[in-house]
């Protein structure tokens, strides 16, 4: 990426102005000495989360969650008949997850195929996260489908997917042991920070995503694919867990509000 001399507003040659040009060259200050991050948050602050359930008519349960600028949608079908007879399990339901990122979700358009390795991996993570929580033994020989869609990618994909899936499963009335709340955390300049956005993620910040069951505090998912010093691991994980508890409160509020709305409509 070249910066033209003399005219600060213009880029030269064939570059398109987009926020993704923060890359290898520029040193964007992710955490100022005063403790503020690029979007004005403190190190231990979550982005604003808004969510809604029952967004669609066809699916049994659906939810839409906006965490900062990341927009994620989850739709749940089930329990219903298994698509491939060979895969049916005699004693419980199978869980099928599909994860898809829209081509217009990132600043540069990128069309990913359904069999993209990253997408399949995220789908597998989510399936493993929900398998112990959903009471699958109540529905032998059936299938529960969770379809996830990302409309806007601003960091925290895995965590918003898990949170959206939780809301959608609750909306579908599928029995679960507990909420599953996920949050990401990282370490910038040796300070643990909560809920990374895309800018912070792409700047080689070590990032850890954790999903817990709030009532017991048990960890269902722990994922990190960057380097982090072992001494920092405990504090970062603890911060992420705290973030999960905050998210649990927000999700619980949304579920109760929507149920109250339904109840009001029934009794009015």
């Amino acid at each position: 990426m070249f910066v033209a001399i003399g005219s600060p507003k213009r880029l030269s040659l064939y570059t398109i102005s987009s926020s993704s040009h923060y890359g290898m060259d520029s040193r964007v200050e992710l955490l100022t000495p005063e403790g503020l991050r690029v979007d004005g948050r403190r190190a231990n602050e979550l982005r604003k989360i808004t969510a809604k359930t029952s967004v669609f008519s066809q699916s049994d349960g659906s939810a839409y969650i906006e965490q900062g600028n990341t927009k994620c949608l989850a739709a749940v079908y089930g329990p219903r008949e298994v698509r491939h007879r060979m895969q049916a399990l005699a004693d419980r339901a199978i869980i099928n997850v599909e994860f898809n990122v829209a081509p217009f979700s990132t600043s540069e358009r990128k069309k990913r195929s359904k069999n993209d390795k990253r997408s399949l991996e995220v789908a597998t993570f989510i399936r493993q996260t929900f398998e112990p929580v959903i009471l699958t033994s109540q529905f032998p020989r059936s299938q529960i489908d969770i379809y996830l869609q990302i409309f806007q990618h601003d960091g925290g994909l895995l965590q918003s997917c898990i949170n959206a899936a939780t809301l959608a499963l609750i909306d579908a009335g599928i029995p679960m042991l507990d909420y599953v709340c996920a949050c990401s955390a990282g370490c910038i300049d040796k300070v643990p920070v909560l809920d990374l956005n895309n800018l912070e993620e792409s700047a080689d910040t070590p990032e850890l995503t954790v999903a817990i069951l709030p009532r017991t505090g048990k960890v269902n998912l722990l994922e990190m694919e960057s380097r982090l010093h072992i001494e920092k691991l405990a504090s970062v994980t603890e911060l992420a867990t705290e973030g999960c508890m905050q998210i649990h409160k927000i999700l619980d509020d949304v579920v109760r509000k929507n149920t109250q709305h339904l109840k009001d409509r029934l009794t009015s």
Binding site: R10, F56, N96, E98, S105, S107, D145
Partner: protein, 303 residues
């Protein structure tokens, strides 16, 4: 997963309803369902829109990128369309179930939008003749399927194209036939797509029994044997005709259906365009006053 099925009793009920001009939900034959349309929901995209027609939900995101020109049109930009039906839309779209439908809808949309019948000024999209041009990528995602998908997609695409802004470029002539261009960063300088007003709208008529209806629900779609999609622009010119379905239609009925579609499209385009202009005016007013603009997106209450 099974394709939706319909019993003969239900089919007969719907056919009789269509005959007497009173459908299952109380509409007349040529009435649309409740329509919710919003533009500018996605900040990362160059243009976006979401439309909910009855329960059919379509989200369109448009990204404008710089690309190489096509050899047979060296002075024009181009449009590329892509329609994807999300598995959340219907039980049958799981795995590869939606592939066929995706292909059909993508090609139908491309047929309507690429070429002179779309009315867009593709010459304006050319940056350096013979080398670089703007490519408009239209990505439509069908989130919820409740009948009449194609009309919904075209409505949303029109609205998203209305909302799209193309960054301004400045070309420098280095001499020797060499050109260099710069893309302006300023959002205020970005311009709308030239020729947007001439975009056609599609009206799809579904033949049930001996009558035809507009904007069917899924069950009504299952009862129809012939569909006719007509693309009409605001001056009443026909921009494309396609017959679908697995039946045959009498030529006189065909002409009548095309006539009806052409007549219906006029007021529809007018009203939609008026609403889009009003929405944009509100947004600009709010921006000028410094008030925050709130886009509802999927939070819009539709019940």
């Amino acid at each position: 997963m099974p394709i939706p099925v319909i019993s003969p009793a239900e089919k007969s009920y719907i056919e009789q309803g269509v005959e007497t001009d009173c459908r299952a939900d109380g509409r007349g034959r040529l009435e649309y369902r409740h329509l919710v349309l919003e533009t500018g929901l996605l900040s990362q995209a160059s243009g976006s829109a979401r439309c909910r027609l009855g329960n059919s939900d379509v989200l369109v995101g448009i990204k404008v990128e710089i690309g190489e020109i096509e050899q047979d049109q060296p002075n024009q930009g181009r449009i590329s369309c892509n329609v994807e039906c999300s598995p959340s839309a219907s039980q049958q779209f799981e795995g590869r179930g939606a592939d066929d439908l995706n292909n059909t809808l993508t090609l139908a949309l491309e047929r309507l939008l690429s070429g002179p019948q779309s009315g867009l000024d593709l010459d304006k999209l050319c940056i350096i003749p013979g080398q670089q041009c703007w490519v408009i990528h239209i990505d439509a995602m069908v989130m919820d399927c409740a009948g009449n998908l194609f009309d919904c997609i075209v409505m949303t695409t029109r609205a998203a194209l209305f909302n799209t802004r193309i960054p301004k470029t400045e070309i420098q002539d280095l001499g020797d036939g060499e050109f260099e261009f710069e893309v302006m960063d300023d959002v205020e300088d970005a311009e709308a797509i030239a020729g947007w007003e001439n975009l056609p709208m599609s009206v799809t008529l579904y033949k049930i029994g001996e009558r035809y209806i507009l904007d069917p629900t899924i069950l009504e779609e299952l009862c129809s044997q012939v569909t006719l999609t007509v693309g009409v622009n605001k001056t009443g010119q026909v921009c494309g005709v396609q017959k679908g379905g697995s039946g045959s239609v009498d030529p006189s009925l065909l002409t009548e259906m095309i006539q009806t579609a052409t007549t219906l499209a006029g007021p529809l385009i007018q009203q939609l365009d008026a609403k889009l202009a009003e929405e944009e005016k509100n947004v600009l007013d709010k921006r000028r006053k410094g008030e925050p603009v709130q886009k509802l997106g999927f939070f819009a209450a539709v019940i």
